[in-house]
Symmetry: C3
Amino acid sequence: MSAAASATLSELADLVGGTLRGPGDLRITGVAPLRAAEPGDIAWLSDTRYAARLAETQAAAVLVPASVEKTPQAAIVCASVDHALALVMNHFAPPVPHPPAGVDPTARVAADAVLGADVAVGPYAVVEPGARIGDGTILDAGVYVGADTIVGAHCRFWPYVVVRERCRIGDRVVIHPHAVIGADGFGYYLHQGRHRRVPHIGGVVIGNDVEIGAAACVDRSKTGNTVIDEGAKIDNLVQVAHNVAVGAHSVLCAQVGVAGSARLGKYVVLGGHVGIRDNITLADGVQVAACSCVPQDVEAGVKMAGLPAIEFRQYLREHASLRKLPDVVAQLRELTKRVEELEAAANHPTDG
Amino acid sequence: MSAAASATLSELADLVGGTLRGPGDLRITGVAPLRAAEPGDIAWLSDTRYAARLAETQAAAVLVPASVEKTPQAAIVCASVDHALALVMNHFAPPVPHPPAGVDPTARVAADAVLGADVAVGPYAVVEPGARIGDGTILDAGVYVGADTIVGAHCRFWPYVVVRERCRIGDRVVIHPHAVIGADGFGYYLHQGRHRRVPHIGGVVIGNDVEIGAAACVDRSKTGNTVIDEGAKIDNLVQVAHNVAVGAHSVLCAQVGVAGSARLGKYVVLGGHVGIRDNITLADGVQVAACSCVPQDVEAGVKMAGLPAIEFRQYLREHASLRKLPDVVAQLRELTKRVEELEAAANHPTDG
Amino acid sequence: MSAAASATLSELADLVGGTLRGPGDLRITGVAPLRAAEPGDIAWLSDTRYAARLAETQAAAVLVPASVEKTPQAAIVCASVDHALALVMNHFAPPVPHPPAGVDPTARVAADAVLGADVAVGPYAVVEPGARIGDGTILDAGVYVGADTIVGAHCRFWPYVVVRERCRIGDRVVIHPHAVIGADGFGYYLHQGRHRRVPHIGGVVIGNDVEIGAAACVDRSKTGNTVIDEGAKIDNLVQVAHNVAVGAHSVLCAQVGVAGSARLGKYVVLGGHVGIRDNITLADGVQVAACSCVPQDVEAGVKMAGLPAIEFRQYLREHASLRKLPDVVAQLRELTKRVEELEAAANHPTDG
């Protein structure tokens, strides 16, 4: 990693609130993993299973937890290596480009839209009538904010994010390119042999510090709101249907689909490609393994897997058994023969 | 739900063609579900399993089917509650914003493109040479219509819909943000160790009253056309591959994938995350449970589930058996021992 | 298929390097499959199982492999029918429209961006500071190229492709509408009960001749680069997470998800909807059946299927057994009864 801004080890120790082990004036020019680090880089050890790599790395220094008492190179001992690493990476990271504060001359901002202080509106962005954008929020190229939608402060919407009318977005919300917030929910009823659209007159409410991935979709509700609570993190290509509630600090990995009116509690974690049935409830802390499909309510803290998803340990037992199933079929056939022979012998004891 | 336009109960009964039960001059100011309704709202009871909620709601009135003979509050008795509800919701819904009729000064419409009466072309939209747009169609901000593509009347394309060249779209078609119609099909052949692209010189034909979700993709065909027949409804993030045919009034839920040249009949219903193999046929009325993968032809009206998908009742039986499989393995082991003992006894009867 | 440019059969034989069988001056006006062909069309027979269709087609001529010794109509005998077909289709295909070379007056190209010879930049496209675009590359309407990103020669980015800052794209790369390259990876760590973002200071490197589908996402890495090697083909709505490596000439079908830091070898083939776990390695030539989920390393050339994925033949055996499982449960119950009877008889031989 080429350095954007070098620092002494002592300065980095101060930055992360860690304890210095080694020369404070050691100059660090970048950050990289143990196996990719070059001289001058600082590396990190989050998982002590990989401690052997400390002897092989070319890194000038490492971030380590207190449990690592000695290292072949200089170190900063950290209460949380993950947190320290984030701070160090942010220090060395090249700045993330964004449009400058102000409205690009090519952008289309409605006369009665309200922009806070230091809002940046990039080229070809559209802000419709009645929308409000909070202080310091960045709307990148081509972002579309619908009529009467309210966006909080210090948000970042990447290019071509679409948020339709009458949605409410909190503060510090990050939405990645091509995500779509507030499209009509997928609801129809059959009338005279044709599907008629159920009106979706509700909206979407997104809490503070939520992040929504590229090309993810969060549909507006029939009535009331589809809700993503504060701190939830949603990955690329995820579908959140109408009237869903995603609890605070939940994590939805890529390509998850949550069907209409499902309710997820706090700190729920859904692996990639997971499907959640409509109208069910996953209580706080439920975890679902990747590629599973959950068809019914799940109680707090339970870990699920499978298609349909069942409790994780039961899933492991069944799949271990499944590995034996072809043998079971063969053994049962053979055992049946042996029982037949025993029966024959019992019925004709003199033949035996 | 705050009201956009209040109405008397009598006016609403007329609107939905229902029978009034209660004071016709009762003023209704909004519509909401039974449990969320506030005084002044009208609610609805579609599913009589929830009839107990009628006693608890604050709603001033309810839409009910004829089978509900008494309600604690005023009511409108409806032949179809779903249809009545849609009409009532549309009455109270705030108007859905759209660009005004005419071409936005920032839009790029080719000189030889043909726009019907009252077409609306939003900011930064692009209409390429030879394209034709029917009367009353709305192209929102950033919509891209490719060369020689024909779009019918009274369609609505939401922001950033892309329809590539030489496609044909019917009347009253709704396409949600970021959907992509007519991208090249995913077809290659190996030639000298490298994948070479199979040209896709066909197009996409979409019938009347089709709806296509946000970020959904319908690829153009190799020759001929990929076809979505009239009235089909396609949810967000669905993939419809080259040369697929989706029958009239079929429903494809979010994140479905239909592989190349598969053919779906009429009124087919695919749950979320379903995968359909290339070159197979699902006849009219086939239903597939969410997260299933269909590997072969399915006859009309059959309900399928699983990975690979099998007939639904068989699927239920197998999964019930699967729950017992760890026990089956243990029982078989134990039974084998008992048979061995019987065999030993039979071979050495004097030992018994 | 209406013809864009007619040709004699002799000219087509020259074009594909095949052997003419029939009148060289036969005029061919289009190309279509055997069953859709009209008089004047040339059709093709790739798969000799469908040879019976040769007798029924209206095609004036066919492309056939050498193994087909006689045809009812004129023919061109080809070493590779697939390759010949691609050449013939390209001959008859209407030209694919694209913006003209030069920068559209509405496009926003930074003053210090560098454009090669004959680059085409369409309407409303954005090229940020420090970006470089190679000779002959086409950036369609609304394409966004981030700061310091380098794009090779003769690429085609379809409308609204987003490539964020500091990525590197090879030559002849095709990216379909709404694909997103270089969005932040989905990485967080829990700190004081809240998910904090892991900085993603790396980028994305895409090799020559790669193709990336509509609305597909390739995330940037934490450090180093997410890599798509030359010749890989990625379909619509695919998710490639941070720090993944996709080997040369691999094929990822629609809606595949590859989780963080997974490594795919060369010529890997993943069917639609497949999920690949984070941090695992699929060696060269691994193939995974559609809708499978791979949880662990796979050796070169192995074919996998299932949830979780296992070796394909084992998968077939297990699923054949699974079909019998309800019977197995019943048989085991019945066999247990028979053993009990034998045991009773053995214990009370005089009762028999």
